[in-house]
């Protein structure tokens, strides 16, 4: 690629400091085609900042220049494009040697985005613009949508992207602590002391949370000392497992947490859970508050402490809390000039930190706000701010003082990181006194600790972590011997006086551009206008204005939005609330969700033999079955040849996927009699019976063959897809009936073939010497036990395909030997395997239905011409009562056979409609060309007046062509049923 060489010499890098960076390892990378350098441990954004590249992206709607805001991934300002990865958070993503980073959402170049002029027409794009502008005339949206879609959106997908290897793993802990700040670390250490197995999770690369960048004392050394002491305790404790760079991205029922680390998603189950997830700093809302150079106080602290980067040269601080003063000290210590502090309150609360700052001679403007920020001449950075005295809530004096600066530090307050807690059922409310959101109504086995629980001083935060750990462990100790209980600590003293939240840091400006939600370029007026357009509920405000719908999901805008909506609608902030937080907390990759995709596959023991014979395999549920044998371009010829061979010689089909259920015990016949529609009490031993199953609604749901091998033993087959349901339904019924019977699903224990055709007996008797196969000794629908090819076997004389046929069931692991024995024995007779497709044609010719294909969710036995399979002489079977009622009401439709005599007509397909007088009156369920009859045959549901043989029906076939067909009696083939009785 073409690159512009530039020095970009990390001239903003401080001489020392930077917890995360390794200054011995320089990394080279590119941003917007320019060469940059950073250090190992840098994020993309910190490395850019180190070289003075503050402009990172262009905003979504107005293409305004945007830069670092939170340094914590809580805003869309830092979204950048990697070659195969759009919408990457530059402030969270580690810098990698050779990385090729680009900006997003601009035309031309990031520095001179042609789209920036859209801002000039911003006045014509009010909230709800799309809804209003393109609603009329009809068709307008269709015309505009492609243009708007091209303009909208952020990153670009790499269409040559190759998916990586992702997986999942389950983990179990006594206690999971989310967030490794001072509260979380204290909790983990205490719980481990009490014997609990603890997982401590944090999304950052190091332990410590705010201790790794906060200043908690005037000298600025206590935080680091405390952090190191705690880390030493954690590392020394074998009960604590630490996962860093690991994001807990949601909360699901019963403490089930998806924790994403690297290419793996851990599915973690916690007996107890402590959310020490901290809080999110919020911005002040004033004119041009989105200029690069305007940052959260915590972003400035992070840049200095974590990355050793100087965030600016001359700073102004706007603050309503102590943190503004602490960061001001940080800046002074880093050599940054602090020109002024705009103190929103009447005066700061005196503390060591405030006194230290005052002693350094920084001007403090009490009761002052930043009314507006001014951009540099190239519009790409902050050049100064206008301070004005506050004269009321959100109101400033008519004039103020302008101060040059390239950095504005905003310290006006926080919201608890409520997202995970609310997903767990926690409820957010608002305390007007402290101007803080608070969390309540936590589910059992979940606690919150630290600033998310409204604690601010380090002592209170750690005390809260300690207390929550003791409560969790004391509960665990009741059921877990390895955990000990200790005396419960007293409740913490109220820390709310230390609230860092200023109640109203929102200052409307006649020219607007006071951004509430940076992601979506939403200003105060947009939120207010949404309520005026009638969308007063916070959920409606969100959907109408898109506020909180951007990539940061309201993390930096929720508080200001709630306050503005509350005021505009005359409600309290607590009544207004926030929108529902749903998982995931942060964007996650589809790869993490997919993991290893387990799509179960089932193979019969003859699978290799099908492959050897050139089968085209098809999937039926999880099963692999041979569709037909031969090449795909010869498909129809292969199927027809297989059909011919069964009709004229002998064929072999693998029917192992058929379900098999064994019912044994004194009540075996009674159970069969209740589950299936036919009578089974008097079924002779050694005989098979057709078994039709209906559900309680009288609908046909499965069928099979019931074989009685013993007075107390029935072996009943079920459809491939239905057997698991049939088995479970039998168990459920017998859980209620309490019959003395055992029910076993033996589907996988047996494999089976059907050897069918006029020469089937001839072949079979070569490999089966202990069963008399003659028609007299072993008639149609007889069952026998014996050996085939040396393998113990159950033989059933069936007629599914309409020829002399034997189903041979043998133990699964002997299937291949059985197959080989039969193929070898049948060489002389021309035995050939046949597949599922040929079997479908054969059974259709014979008029046999397939449950689920020729039946639907309404099919009664009567409708599918199975009335003969329903006993009227027994006191009960499942579905009996409804079938009786339906039969008394009269039948509405019938499944009939039809033939198409016009060989040039397009062959009707399943679900094609039968049309009569322009009305749909029926549909096709099966239709195939019959090689035996030489024309298409099929089955269809028709109205009763068309059910008589000889009726003419009209089918709307492929391409809308009407095809005439004639209803005929079933079966199409061998109506006297002589073939299968041979």
């Amino acid at each position: 690629m073409a690159t512009t060489h530039s020095t970009n010499s990390q001239n903003n890098r401080l001489a020392s400091g930077g917890l995360l960076i390794d200054r011995s390892q320089t990394l080279n990378f590119f941003f917007a085609n320019k060469h940059f350098q950073g250090f190992a441990g840098d994020s993309i954004a910190s490395a850019l900042a180190a070289s003075g590249q503050w402009l990172i992206s262009r905003s979504f709607k107005y293409h305004r220049p945007r830069g670092v805001l939170t340094m914590a991934g809580q805003d869309a300002n830092s979204l950048v494009q990697l070659p195969s990865d759009p919408n990457v958070l530059a402030d969270k993503t580690a810098l990698v040697q050779g990385m090729n980073v680009d900006g997003q959402n601009y035309s031309g170049s990031l520095e001179k985005d042609l789209g920036r002029h859209i801002e000039k027409v911003g006045g014509f794009m009010p909230v709800g613009f799309y809804y209003k502008a393109f609603y009329k005339p009809k068709g307008a949206w269709e015309k505009w949508a492609p243009l708007i879609r091209k303009k909208a959106g952020l990153g670009v997908l790499d269409e040559n992207f190759k998916p990586g290897y992702y997986d999942k793993a389950y983990r179990f802990y006594d206690l999971v602590v989310v967030g490794a700040g001072p509260a979380g670390m204290t909790a983990a250490i205490q719980a481990a002391e009490q014997g609990a197995k603890v997982l401590l999770v944090d999304e950052n690369p190091v332990l410590g949370g705010s201790l790794s960048y906060d200043r908690i004392d005037a000298q600025g050394s206590n935080a680091q000392a405390l952090r190191l002491a705690m880390i030493a305790d954690i590392e020394a404790h074998e009960n604590i497992e630490v996962k860093l760079d690991a994001l807990c991205n949601g909360y699901f029922a019963d403490n089930w947490l998806p924790i994403i680390q690297g290419a793996r998603m851990y599915k973690v189950r916690a007996k107890e859970l402590i959310m020490a997830v901290g809080s999110l700093e919020q911005q002040a809302v004033f004119h041009n508050n989105d200029l690069p150079g305007v940052m959260m106080s915590s972003a400035i602290a992070r840049l200095i402490r974590l990355y050793g980067v100087r965030p600016g040269k001359r700073a102004v601080v706007v603050t309503g809390n102590d943190h503004g003063y602490a960061v001001a000290l940080e800046m002074l210590d880093a050599g940054i000039e602090v020109a002024a502090i705009a103190e929103l309150r009447d005066a700061p609360i005196q503390s060591d930190i405030v006194q230290e700052l005052a002693s350094r001679g920084v001007a403090i403007y009490n009761n002052h706000a930043v009314y507006a920020a001014k951009a540099s001449s190239d519009k790409k950075h902050l050049a100064g701010v206008e301070l004005r005295k506050q004269i009321g809530r959100g109101k400033c004096a008519d004039s103020g003082e302008f101060i040059d600066c390239d950095l504005l530090c905003m310290a006006i307050g926080y919201t608890p990181t409520y997202q995970l807690v609310c997903q767990a059922g926690g409820q957010l409310s608002y305390d007007d006194e402290t101007a803080l959101f608070t969390l309540q109504k936590l589910p059992k086995a979940l606690q919150i600790a630290g600033s998310v629980n409204g604690n601010w001083s380090t002592d209170a935060v750690c005390g809260d972590g300690y207390r929550s750990a003791v409560l969790a462990c004391n509960r665990l100790a009741q059921d877990n011997d390895h955990i000990s209980a200790i005396a419960e600590p007293a409740p913490l003293a109220d820390d709310s006086a230390a609230s860092p939240n200023y109640s109203w840091p929102i200052f409307p400006h006649p020219k607007g551009k006071e951004f509430v939600d940076f992601d979506e370029d939403l200003q105060i007026a947009d939120i207010v206008n949404a309520t005026r357009d009638g969308y007063e509920h916070i959920q409606l405000v969100k959907r109408y204005s898109t506020c909180g719908m951007g990539p940061s999901q309201g993390r930096h805008s929720a508080l200001a939005t709630a306050r503005i909506v509350a005021e505009a609608t005359g409600r309290s902030v607590a009544q207004t609330g926030v929108t529902t937080a749903r998982p995931p907390f942060a964007p996650e990759r589809l790869g993490h969700l997919a993991g290893r995709s387990f799509y179960p596959e089932r193979f019969t023991s003859m699978h290799q033999r099908h492959l050897d014979a050139g089968a085209q395999m098809m999937q039926a549920g999880a099963w692999y079955r041979p569709a037909y044998y031969g090449t795909t371009n010869q498909r129809d010829a292969c199927i027809n040849a297989e059909v011919d061979n069964v009709r004229n010689n002998v064929g072999l089909v693998d029917v192992s996927t058929l379900g098999g259920i064994e019912i044994r015990g004194p009540d075996a016949a009674e159970l069969m009699n209740r589950i299936y529609t036919f009578g089974f009490l008097k079924q002779p031993i050694g005989r098979a019976r057709y078994a039709l199953m209906t559900n309680e609604a009288g609908v046909v749901i499965d069928d099979g063959v019931s074989c009685r091998f013993h007075d107390q033993l029935f072996y009943v087959t079920a459809t491939t897809g239905g057997v698991d349901r049939v088995y479970q339904s039998m168990l459920k019924w017998n859980a209620q009936w309490c019959l003395d019977v055992d029910i076993a699903n033996v589907t996988s224990a047996w494999c089976a073939v059907n050897i069918a055709g006029p020469k089937a007996r001839e072949v079979l008797q070569k490999v089966c010497s202990d069963v008399d196969l003659s028609s007299e000794a072993f008639p149609y629908m007889g069952v026998r036990e014996g050996h085939v090819g040396g393998v113990e076997a159950r033989l059933i004389r069936v007629g599914f395909v309409g020829e002399l046929g034997f189903e041979i069931h043998v133990p699964q692991h002997c299937g291949e030997a059985l197959w080989d024995a039969l193929i070898e024995a049948g060489v002389e007779q021309g035995i050939k395997p046949f597949g599922i497709e040929a079997q479908r044609v054969l059974r259709l010719e014979k008029g046999h239905i397939i449950i689920g294909q020729d039946t639907d969710a309404m099919s009664t036995p009567q409708e599918v011409q199975m009335g003969w399979a329903v006993s009227t002489k027994k006191p009960f079977f499942v579905g009996q009562r409804v079938i009786k009622e339906l039969n008394s009401l009269g039948q509405l439709r019938a499944l009939v056979g039809f033939v198409v005599d016009d060989l040039n007509a397009p062959i009707p397909l399943e679900s094609h409609l039968i049309i009569e007088d322009d009305q749909m009156t029926g549909r096709i369920t099966s239709c195939n060309y019959s090689p035996t009859l030489g024309k298409p045959v099929g089955m269809a549901y028709v109205q009763l007046h068309k059910a008589e043989a000889g009726s003419e029906i009209a089918i709307r076939s492929t391409g809308g062509v009407m095809v005439n067909a004639k209803v005929v009696a079933l079966p199409f083939y061998d109506p006297q049923t002589q073939r299968q009785a041979l």
Binding site: D167, K168, A169, Y170, R171, F172, K267, R269, H482, R596, F598, Y599, P600, E601, R602, F603, T604, S605, Q608, A622, W623, S656, E662, R664, G665, P666, H710, Q712, L713, D740, D742, A744, V746, S748, A749, W750, G789, G790, V791, P811, Q812, H813, C814, E816, A817
Partner: protein
């Protein structure tokens, strides 16, 4: 220790449904007490023994097993001198090395000892008859399920990728049973730690689990296990190394 006689899977009517994939992995098949097993994948026995200790998968599908279920099954088994567990989802190792796993109040699974010298599954099957009036019914466990054995220090970490059960040492004691979903296939997991006899007459147990799954799904399960084992350099191992440890 019994003799192995090299042969091919096709020499028997009973074949493991994994024999094709095992062939492609270089398996040497052998007959062992009437069962065709993979003798080894790697002819260096020491390497296969070391593999057992780190992470290995062994196919025991051709070894005998049986099952007995029914209202009177516990009594019938007890009458036959079988030591059955008191509660469901527990297994008991018999003196002869066979394992009796109680899957519910009424259902028991009997696994052969590895040397196939005790033949408990077959003996019980032979003494059972449909003709008797006892409410105890034989189950075709030789064929309904495939039988895999997973061994090694990394076996729990590996299984945690395919199975959502807490298998940690203190939560899932030796001879515990979990009937659950493994790689989305229903299976029976039985912890049976492998005791390794050291050269100095000391012995140590390494974690190991029997996995019984639907026999038609075993190729899929094998593939899923091998995928999950890759990260830990887990490999299939032959029967000879396992028997050598007994």
């Amino acid at each position: 220790m019994s003799e192995f006689v090299n042969t091919t899977p096709q020499s028997s009517l009973r074949r493991s449904m994994l024999c094709r994939v095992q062939e492609t992995l270089g398996a040497q098949f052998a007959e062992h007490q009437g069962a065709i097993v993979v003798r080894h994948f790697n002819s260096q026995l020491d390497e296969e023994r070391a593999q057992l200790k780190s992470l290995a998968i062994i196919d025991l599908s051709t070894l005998p097993r049986s099952g007995f279920k029914g209202r009177e099954a516990p009594q019938w088994l007890t009458d036959k001198g079988v030591n059955i567990p008191e509660t469901p989802n527990q297994a008991v190792k018999q003196d002869d090395g066979s394992i009796v796993a109680r899957l519910s109040m009424q259902e028991h699974l009997i696994l052969s000892d590895l040397a196939i010298s005790a033949s408990l599954p077959a003996k019980l099957e032979q003494s059972w008859s449909m003709q008797s009036d006892v409410a105890c019914y034989s189950l075709p466990r030789n064929d309904s399920h495939a039988w895999l054995y997973l061994t090694g220090s990394e076996v729990r970490a590996m299984l945690s990728k395919v199975c959502g059960i807490d298998l940690r040492d203190n939560e899932f004691a030796n001879l515990s049973i979990a009937q659950t979903s493994i790689a989305r296939i229903n299976g029976i997991l039985i912890r049976d730690d492998l005791v390794i006899n050291g050269s100095d007459e000391s012995s140590s147990a390494i974690p190991a689990f029997h996995l019984l799954c639907d026999s038609s799904s075993v190729a899929f399960v094998w593939e899923s296990m091998c995928d999950a084992m890759n990260e830990f350099d887990g490999k299939p191992v032959g029967f000879a190394a396992l028997l050598n440890e007994q």
